[in-house]
Amino acid sequence: MRREIPLIITTVAGLVFAVSYFIPHWPFGEAESIFGDWISIVQAFAIWLGVLSLVKVSLEKVSRQPHERPYALVTIITLVGTIVAGLWAGIAGLGQTPMVSFRDTAAFSWIYEYLYTSLTSTMFSILAFFVASAAYRAFRARNFEATLLLIAGFFVMGGRVPLFDLALGSVTGVDTSIFSDFADWIMNYPNSAGQRAIMIGIALGIMSSSLRVILGIERSHIGGES
């Protein structure tokens, strides 16, 4: 039964979702939102398992792995600190509208605005440097395909900014948009064709994968065959 019950739930839920895509009438039309609510509820409870796992692993790192100790300590301190700030705000706001006081509390807002937001922005901004380093490697003309990529990238980048058109215009004395037109052509035709081919493949892959899951042929997500 440990295998059968999850399989039955998967099959029933999968079929109901598939049917509700084509039949909007009750009860199928409601199924999507009902299952969506259930997913949210299960996720809300599952987060406790996640927090327990984080605390357990971090405490073990503190006690057994000296080189991981500082990072694990930061994790535990910030986790506990944020929970305390949030709970304190909730308790302080019991006589008022709780959510308003929760948002307005100085400690919790401070953590959000001056720690969380700035750290998140820092991680996101690192992306710019990684794009440059990845592009440098991708655009090396090591073989025929990489050379094609280099040429296409050269024209797309030159066409996306007015640099090439401006340079050509200043040499010939005539306003031109030939490079930006060529960049648009590359993006609209070869690029779109390639992307759509990938997306058709993905759609078929999802269909095939979903059928395997619904029919119980694919069982890896519930632990495998045995």
Binding site: Q43, V57, G205, M207, H221
Partner: protein
């Protein structure tokens, strides 16, 4: 028949406008209280200049919203003649009543240029009447806002109902049934023992080698299953690959670590890993600490995984699942750490990043094929064959479409010129 009076004083000039409205009483309204509007516009609202009343929209139609589960009616109209972007109109107000002579209440507001809204608050089987007015919002010298409304155009009755079939998705259903039938046929065929050929997928062929490399180097294998939950099919595919990687890691006695972004994925992945270690005959080697939750935050997760990569320097890293902006942050860090990296995602926008930063990339459908490919289970391989039938159908349709579009283009221009040339000569 109800009348509305608007009056304003402007340097001794008194403006009086009286409108005859056939269905209900219309009022100049404060935008903050559309349904409890004042009876008239304040004089200060028109103190500097007296704006003209907007021209009414026309051709109002109210029909049941098609292909839905009921409870909604679409209201459409032709734009007011003054709706030309010249700030003579601020927007449109849509009102509803249960009878043509009853009180109409505001159910929606549309901005300038809009020609329809959907009323999602109807009861199936009841008749509803709608009216649409154009309005102009004005602000007086005291900053108080008021509205001038046009004559109402009405429509109805309309009745909402739920449909038994979404006709917009008819073609989709035909394709889905046909391709599903092909997949089921090949699954059955493979089950009966018929050999199924599947082309080599370099990224999946390299999985054994990648885990073996970690074993030789005495370092760990890191598995990153993306940042979506278990309701995403990419995550399911990623967890399926994790099962195979865990089995190999157990066989080679190599440490496998899987930091998770979602608690539900963690629970599922733990179960999968535990089963994989049992299949490999080493259930004691598995520990729940190998698969742990980090955070649900996208960049917090990226920072944590980057930290693990830089501190532990894993020999092999797998990225299998749904990724967004963190894809390049993770894979470039892995590249800098010298790890062999195998990625797979069905997010087309992230594929170029993985291709640039990883040694092998499973592109789109290859991610979904991975479980079947690695398990070599006949029924799963059969489903891949059925998928190929779908690809053949789409390829044929694309070729037919391109040919027809080309012929159509030629007949419109070049062929026409050739025909004219032949006729003339």
């Amino acid at each position: 028949m109800v009348k509305i009076g608007v009056s304003a004083s402007l340097g001794g000039l008194v403006l009086i406008a009286t409108l005859a409205i056939p269905t209900h009483k219309l009022r100049a309204q404060s935008p903050d209280s559309a349904q409890s509007a004042p009876d008239s516009i304040s004089q200060s609202a028109l103190s500097t200049s007296a704006p003209a009343l907007p021209a009414a929209p026309s051709g109002v139609e109210a029909v049941d919203n098609p292909n839905d589960r009921g409870g909604s009616i679409s209201v459409s109209w032709e734009k007011s003649p003054e709706d030309n972007g010249a700030a003579l109109i601020t927007g449109y107000l849509v009102r509803r009543s249960k009878s043509s002579t009853g009180e109409f209440i505001v159910v929606g507001e549309a901005t300038q240029g809009a020609m329809s809204i959907t009323d999602n608050q109807t009861t199936d089987g009841s008749d509803y009447y709608y009216s649409v007015t154009a309005f102009l919002e004005t602000a007086g010298s005291d900053g108080k806002k008021s509205r001038l409304e046009s004559v109402a155009s009405a429509a109805g009755p309309a009745r909402s109902s739920a449909q038994w079939f979404n006709s917009d998705r008819g073609i989709c259903l035909i394709f889905a049934l046909f391709i599903s039938a092909a997949i089921l046929y090949f699954i059955r065929s493979a089950k009966s023992g018929k050999a199924v050929y599947v082309r080599k997928i370099a990224g999946l062929e390299a999985v054994d080698e990648a885990v073996g490399r970690a074993t030789e180097m005495g370092k760990k294998v890191l598995f990153v299953p993306g940042i979506q939950d278990m309701n995403d099919v990419q995550t399911i595919a990623g967890v399926a690959i994790l099962g195979r990687v865990a089995e190999l890691a157990a066989q080679y006695d190599t440490k496998l670590e899987a930091p998770m972004n979602k608690a539900m994925v963690m629970v599922t992945a733990r179960e999968t890993m535990k089963e994989a270690y049992t299949r490999a005959g080493r259930p004691d080697s598995y520990s729940d600490n190998q698969c742990y939750f980090v955070t649900e935050d996208q960049f917090g997760y990226a920072a944590a995984v980057d930290g693990i990569i830089m501190r532990d320097k894993p020999a092999t890293i797998f990225y299998m699942g749904s990724f967004f902006a963190e894809s390049l942050i993770l894979s470039e860090t892995g590249n800098a750490a010298g790890a062999i990296q195998i990625a797979g995602t069905a997010q087309p926008s992230q594929l170029p990043f993985f291709v640039a930063a990883c040694d092998y990339t499973l592109i789109g459908e290859e991610l979904f094929a991975a479980s079947a490919y690695m398990s070599r289970e006949p029924r799963q391989l059969g489903s891949l064959k059925g998928q190929d039938v779908g690809k053949a159908i789409f390829l044929a349709l694309i070729l037919i479409g391109v040919t027809l579009a080309t012929v159509s283009g030629l007949s419109d221009s070049a062929l026409w010129d050739v025909r004219q040339f032949l006729l003339v000569n």
